[in-house]
């Protein structure tokens, strides 16, 4: 009963925070500058509404909720991957060569995830939807976790001065690493009751934590991303015309 209450509280808090963040981005008119965050928040809200409706209408254990939940999870994982791509783009803003390398890497990772997930289909053609969706979602989720960690290390390595990006990446890290760590705890403790309860709450709790970190980063931390270095030729042309 208490865990049900907690999960409902987390669900509504999540929907409210997503809507508030989207409203904030639209109000300050920066949704174009922060396309990654805007797209991800929009996907979260777009997934939360049919999920909430199906949960209310059919219940937690219904097949309808099951299919809606995991179907919308596909949308969320894809937008999470796009978000990581946008973050890589922002981190390599002044590093053209590095961005070329990162872009190729992201494309290869996506193709490999599709390939590895499709391998499962060769064994289980009869149950295409659940198996492929599960495999693809889970593989892409963990690929995003690894890529996000790599991005954080890259930010440390290049001594990035973009504090806001650092916080946004940390938020995504909470989102991805939290449930994974809890699942590992469940595994280690052989599914003790507390670990099971924690596991059922970990996914919504970590998503909410990410949203709160993002809210802090967007509202309180100044966007100190470095300006784009203009090509020397353009500067030279300006000087000569003057």
């Amino acid at each position: 009963m208490n865990s049900n209450l907690a999960s409902h509280l987390l669900q509504y808090a999540g929907i409210l925070t997503e809507a508030a963040l989207l409203y904030y981005l639209a109000r300050i008119g920066e949704w174009g500058k922060r396309r990654g965050q805007f797209l991800y928040l929009l996907s979260l809200l777009a997934a939360a509404l049919p999920r909430a409706f199906t949960l209310y209408r059919y219940g937690l254990s219904s097949p309808q909720y099951f299919y809606v939940y995991w179907g919308t999870d596909l949308l969320l994982v894809l937008s999470a991957f796009l978000l990581v791509c946008f973050f890589f783009r922002r981190a390599c803003r002044n590093e053209g060569k590095m961005w070329g390398f990162a872009r190729l890497l992201l494309a290869f990772v996506f193709v490999l995830v599709v390939g590895v997930s499709a391998l499962v289909l060769s064994h289980k053609l009869s149950a295409l939807f659940p198996y492929f969706i599960f495999e693809f979602n889970q593989n892409l989720y963990f690929a995003c976790l690894v890529l996000n960690t790599m991005l954080y290390l890259l930010l440390v390595q290049i001594e990035s001065t973009d504090d806001q990006l650092g916080l946004l990446v940390c938020g995504v890290g909470i989102q991805f690493a939290g449930p994974s760590a809890t699942l590992a705890l469940v595994h280690l403790t052989e599914a003790e009751r507390f670990a099971q309860l924690l596991n059922s709450l970990a996914i919504p709790l970590c998503t909410l934590a990410m949203l709160l970190v993002w809210a802090y980063a967007l509202v309180r931390v100044k966007d100190s991303r470095p300006k784009v270095v203009r090509p020397e030729k353009a500067v030279l042309a300006e000087v000569t015309t003057d």
Binding site: Y65, A80, A184, I203
Partner: protein, 114 residues
């Protein structure tokens, strides 16, 4: 060309790490009623109905070792999972042939009397 090869290798490393982390973290936890899948969102996670995949399942009956990267097939009930006999004796023998079970009623070895 060299850059592409290095990038492809790095991408392979990323995907291998991701799959390994997934296997370690979620691969073998298939406890009843516990979702062993990670997801995104603040909505409650639906329970996985019976028959749906929730990661590679461990088989508690497996007592065998195997070589290879393929999943080990489960040992069906009734199949031997190591040398056993019906009266619970552990017999040692020489040779590569399977040890025959001791038939019921076979006299147990006498305990040495002091």
């Amino acid at each position: 060309m060299k850059n592409v090869a290095v990038t492809l290798l790095l991408a392979l490393l990323v995907i291998l790490t991701a799959v390994s982390v997934r296997r370690v973290v979620a691969g073998s936890s298939t406890y009843a009623g516990t979702p062993t899948l990670v997801a995104i969102g603040t909505d409650p996670v639906p329970p996985v109905p019976p028959g749906k995949p929730s990661g590679p399942k461990p088989n508690s009956a497996i007592k065998t070792m195997a070589i290879g990267t393929d999943p080990v097939p489960p040992v069906p009930p009734g199949k031997p999972s190591g040398p056993k006999n019906e009266i619970g004796l552990t017999l040692l023998a020489i040779g590569t042939d399977p040890v025959p079970p001791v038939p019921p009623g076979h006299p147990k070895p006498q305990k040495p009397s002091n």
